[in-house]
């Protein structure tokens, strides 16, 4: 081989080496830019002086914040996703703080992330932003630095399993006052078994309502395309009418109840905690339906369905009750655009669990303890809002949900989940407010 050939080969080898490393460099150091098209107020270190961020700015969470709480300046996507969905579950040092809404003057509570904003690719501004406000329903909006969407397949395979993490057992067991019969070792086994049983049940039940619902959503998306904020109201009504036409009132109501649980419940890593959160929403719906708590529903009226037809249906769709059914709500848009084949793993998991929880409620596999079992449990709100109806003395202090399963020898086992002990965004429940 001549020297020129050798030099050529060496040059080409070096060229490809640089090229492959540049690509790796670009991937591992890609600035995953959090783009939130709704929350664009930048505040100073003390959460004062809100100013509107330019529409063309790119917003990045400060890498030092990532390093402090996630162990790396460039964490994986699944870690960023978890951080945005429920920050305190990722790091107990991240807590909500109070700020003042600049227009209404009202104090509100939220998670504020330190951000670095690039304007016109040159100027950098530091501050803090309430990024999570528009992601409480688990809606991911992380994009590559060029603005393109991130394929859900890029999200780590770790997110695709439903196995319990053992440290969650301690959270769910609560202390001896709330769960006197719980023992950590036994409970760990029970929780894992319950989790496995749920996973198996959801996967194997080919006649489940959820599978039929998935077919419905594929058809709906095919006929209507992506739903935007602008058409979410009219498309919601079409969605509900189509559900009732296809499944009948009773099954459509079960589906809507499951979707309400999906949209309203806070996100939880632990399967049993997730089921507990969803079931608490369904319990409130049940109680309200029994007494016809609210009977005015513009949605039903607009599609020509009588509010006398099904009390649970009316309860779910009553005006101004469950925010996920409000026109233009982010949670509604997420439901309408749910694609069972393309949704990210967390969303798919939560959707499956919502339907499974609804089914478990029907077959009495879920119990509510203490005041959570009250027939007058009609209200809840997120811990980061303060509605004017919330009377502190009527709050349920120990909101415990018991999930039951049968083990291989047919014996009943259970795990108690104290919703008060869950970290981060959570619901506060009230009994006896009308």
């Amino acid at each position: 081989m001549s020297i020129y050939t050798k030099r050529f080969i060496i040059t080409i080898t070096i060229f490809f080496f640089i090229l492959s490393n540049e690509a790796a460099f670009a991937t591992t150091n890609a600035a995953y830019t959090f783009v939130n098209t709704r929350s664009i107020h930048l505040r100073d270190e003390n959460l004062k002086n809100p100013q509107v961020v330019d529409q063309n700015a790119s917003i990045n969470i400060d890498p030092e914040f990532y390093k402090e709480h996630l162990g790396s300046e460039t964490p994986s996507l699944d870690k960023i996703q978890q951080l945005l969905l429920n920050p305190t579950e990722v790091s107990s040092e991240i807590v909500t703080e109070n700020a003042v809404n600049s227009v209404t003057g009202r104090v509100f509570s939220d998670y504020f992330f330190p951000v670095i904003i690039k304007i016109n690719n040159s100027e950098r501004v530091k501050g803090r932003m309430a990024l999570q406000a528009y992601n409480r329903n688990g809606q991911m909006d992380i994009r590559n630095s060029d603005g393109s969407e991130i394929d859900s397949n890029q999200i780590s395979g770790k997110m695709k399993t439903l196995k319990e993490q053992s440290k969650q057992v301690v959270t769910e067991a609560g202390d001896s006052k709330t769960c006197p019969t719980c023992e950590t070792a036994t409970l760990k086994t029970q929780v894992n078994q319950i989790s496995e049983a749920i996973t198996t049940s959801v996967q194997k039940n080919s006649n489940s309502l959820y599978l039929k619902y998935q077919d419905f959503t594929r058809e709906f998306l095919k006929n209507n395309g992506k739903i935007t904020r602008r058409d979410s109201g009219s498309k919601k009504r079409l969605f509900i009418k189509s559900l009732v036409d296809k499944f009948g009132v009773d099954d459509a109501t079960k589906i809507l109840a499951s979707l309400t649980g999906f949209g309203e419940a806070p996100d939880r890593k632990s399967s049993s905690a997730q089921i507990a959160e969803i079931s608490a929403i369904l319990k409130v719906i049940q109680n309200r339906a029994r007494v016809q708590f609210r009977t005015k529903s513009s949605t039903l009226k607009n599609i020509g369905i009588s509010t006398d037809l099904n009390s649970t249906l009316t309860t779910i769709l009553a005006n101004s009750q469950f925010s996920v059914w409000n026109d233009f709500d982010n949670g509604l848009i997420k439901i309408l655009n749910f694609n069972p084949d393309k949704a990210d793993p967390l969303t798919k998991r939560r959707m499956a669990m919502s339907f499974e929880t609804q089914s478990m409620m029907e077959s009495n596999k879920i119990e509510f303890l203490g005041k959570m079992n009250s027939d007058k449990l009609y209200h809840y709100h997120a811990n980061y809002v303060a509605p004017n109806w919330a009377e502190r003395q009527k709050r349920v202090g120990a909101p415990i949900v018991r999930i039951k399963q049968q083990n291989s020898s047919g014996k009943d086992e259970f795990v108690d989940v104290n919703l008060q002990n869950q970290s981060g965004a959570r619901h506060l429940f009230y009994a006896g407010i009308r």
Partner: protein
Amino acid sequence: MKLNLIFVGILYLTASFVRADEFLPSQAKIEKINCIMQKDLIIFDMISIPYTPYEENLKNIKLTECQRIQIGQQIFFTALFESLQEQEFGSSKALIFEIALFNEKEKKLNTVRSEIIDRLKLQSDLPDYNFENSLKVNWGHSKKDHKLMLRFEIAAKTLNRKKGAKVEAPHSYLIKLNKKDSWFEDVF
């Protein structure tokens, strides 16, 4: 052959029943009128009958525009207004459009449609406290059964962060007065 023709005829007749309804513009007399708030009630100029908004838990209603519409023998009053609204989960600011049918015999105004045109949740900071959506209403009738029909067009400002992003076309949908003349229902 005869059977085939009969079959085709039945198919055609069936198809004609399921054909989507069509909107045809009508000669409606539309006039802007004055309206004021009196406590929580809307008072339209020309009639001194108070109107109770259909939406509940409203506060600080700010009227934007009121109209009187006459089509044939029927008279409607409409109100477009902004309001704070206390909901179960917190406060929001809503842009609402309501249509009331004037019952001349009973001297009453009955709501026949209440539409939320836009809503902003107020428990956090927002990029903009102005509504993004606007509404255009076209009055007409159904080609199928000649019932009163409206075409709503909701137009929105672009939300995209990137410059030069496409402005979405307005979203339009139809609503039709039901058989009892008690409510405008969505047409699917």
